[in-house]
Assembly symmetry: C2
């Protein structure tokens, strides 16, 4: 209080020079408060028909341009400059997950990296709580694929983070990433990825909470599996439909929004099958642009919700605009 | 607790069908929690050199396309469709303000509409608190102009919301909006705007906390006034500079990002002088695109921070990407 009083007195003294007088350099009224340096919580909510969609921020990784295949550094920089992105230490790339309350199920799509990829990631649990839910309330976890930045978040020190959830993965991805035989034959630098996938799901397997699905299987009401293979053998997207509104959560269809929307033929080093990943990306871009689907992308700028628009020979990303939650709103 | 136990038991029963078995339709484990329907708080923070910038969301207004001058409804719809925006009930348009902690001053640029324009606006005070500050800590308020959605937020029931702040407006705007003579001659439907401007600043005038500046005046360290007239006679932008990084908070240079970046020659009904507003917009777009300045815009999609890029014959808006606060980061 003392501080405020002295600030007020000072303000009067300074302002005493008078209205409409020439402005004099302002003296600080008091020591300003410390910079807060905190960021707004990493969740963003929107209504999709009767479904409530909450985007969750896990954190970020810096991706080196050299991991992009089919483009040289100079051409990459031109596209990055167009988006005013600095790539000196790699391009800051978000890791997102999505929580959908369908009214019947509370569904988490992907789960972030937890501690698997260092300290800039692992925010999903905190952001689930910031968004008003608890991990125990989630009944369904849908994994787009079994890479560590999508699956590690379901596991904490060997225990289930979502003890009341059934975790789903595609059979093609489970057959690959959970196979001890394939892992044994993998290059040394890739062995860690297999181990992290196996560790992630282990407590759910032990509790019979892990389920593998095949193409055409129905998982839960309001969600359709859309196979989008290439990045991994069983990479899958999930189409949520509610009252005529549709959201496709597409996992890792795009790793670099500044480059791959303009040039869908650019691939990512981590693709299991780059050629197939490119085919899938091109087909999906054309399809979702035509259908004007809402998209949720794991590595698009948080919240990663928006639309894909045709732009010349390529495409462009149109992010959602921040808005209050419009419960009765249309598209 | 009871609920969680029954959920867990149910989960075991369902999952008991076995790992790797064909997926069966999942039964909801229990009644899901209610949809939260709350939105993340309306603030967003970024570091600009040694300055801390916090964007603040006041709310939104729906702007009818008919208020845009120089474009017909059909052409407007083409541009709105490109951004996947619905204009059935007008286009949802954000109202933003900015709080800058320079280390020497805590500066608010614009203050939102408070209760002047209805219940979808008036969030600035709450969002200042959500961002970790209090209105009493603010020592400087810079108004880009004296329209009600920028100035009403400084006043609550006739009292100063920022009792320890000096409020600054340009002389040209004060001479216009605070003139009883000009107000008396204004068309009936515009009289309210004059009244709201006068009411907003009245308690600051009474306390000698209101200052009017002229072109070339220095206000506080780290900020330069950039006259950007047209929308109002003394419309001003504020250029914040810190350690070689620059942010121009440009007020109402743009009301419709989907239309005016592509076609800067489209004006807004509320412009005092449309012709001059268009000249200012064209000149500023060219300038900030060339200089790659950070922009803060009062009616750009929240947080309204980003850059202007050249795009064919027009321009395009490139919004900032959500990121943790990078205290030591570069641009």
């Amino acid at each position: 209080m003392k501080k405020n009083i002295s600030r007020a007195l000072l303000a009067l003294t300074i302002a005493g020079a008078g209205v409409l007088s020439a402005v004099q350099p302002t003296v600080a009224l008091a020591a300003v408060p410390a910079q807060q340096k905190t960021q707004v919580p990493g969740y963003y909510r929107m209504q999709l028909g009767g479904f409530e969609v909450t985007a969750l921020y896990d954190g970020y990784v810096n991706i080196d341009n050299k991991l992009l295949k089919g483009i040289n550094g100079k051409d990459a920089k031109v596209l990055l400059d167009k988006m005013f992105l600095d790539s000196t230490n790699g391009v800051q790339t978000a890791v997102n997950a999505y929580l959908i309350n369908t009214g019947t199920n509370l569904v988490l799509v992907d789960s972030g990296a937890a501690k698997c990829f260092g300290p800039t990631l692992g925010g999903i649990q905190n952001n689930i709580r910031a968004a008003g839910y608890t991990p125990e309330q989630i009944d369904t976890v849908l994994l787009t694929h079994l890479h560590a930045d999508h699956s590690c978040g379901i596991n904490e020190q060997g225990k289930m983070v979502f003890p009341n959830a059934v975790v789903y993965a595609s059979k093609a991805d489970a057959d690959y990433w959970l196979s001890p035989e394939i892992a044994a034959k993998a290059p040394e630098e890739a062995k860690g990825l297999f181990q992290m996938a196996q560790d992630s799901v282990a407590p759910y397997q032990a509790a019979n909470h892990f389920k593998v699905y095949s193409p055409g299987d129905t998982l839960i009401a309001g969600v359709e599996v859309v196979p989008t293979p290439g990045h991994t053998p069983g990479h899958a997207s999930y189409l949520f439909s509610a009252k005529g509104q549709e959201l496709l959560i597409w996992g890792d269809i795009v790793h670099s929004h500044s480059i791959q929307f303009a040039q869908p033929e650019i691939a990512m080093e981590f693709d299991t099958d780059s050629k197939r990943a490119i085919e899938t990306r091109k087909k999906l871009f054309a399809d979702v642009a035509k259908k004007k689907l809402w998209i949720g992308g794991a590595h698009l700028p948080f919240p990663g919700l928006g639309h894909v628009a045709i732009d010349g020979k390529g495409y462009r990303w149109v992010p959602v605009e921040y808005s209050p939650v419009m419960v009765a709103a249309g598209k």
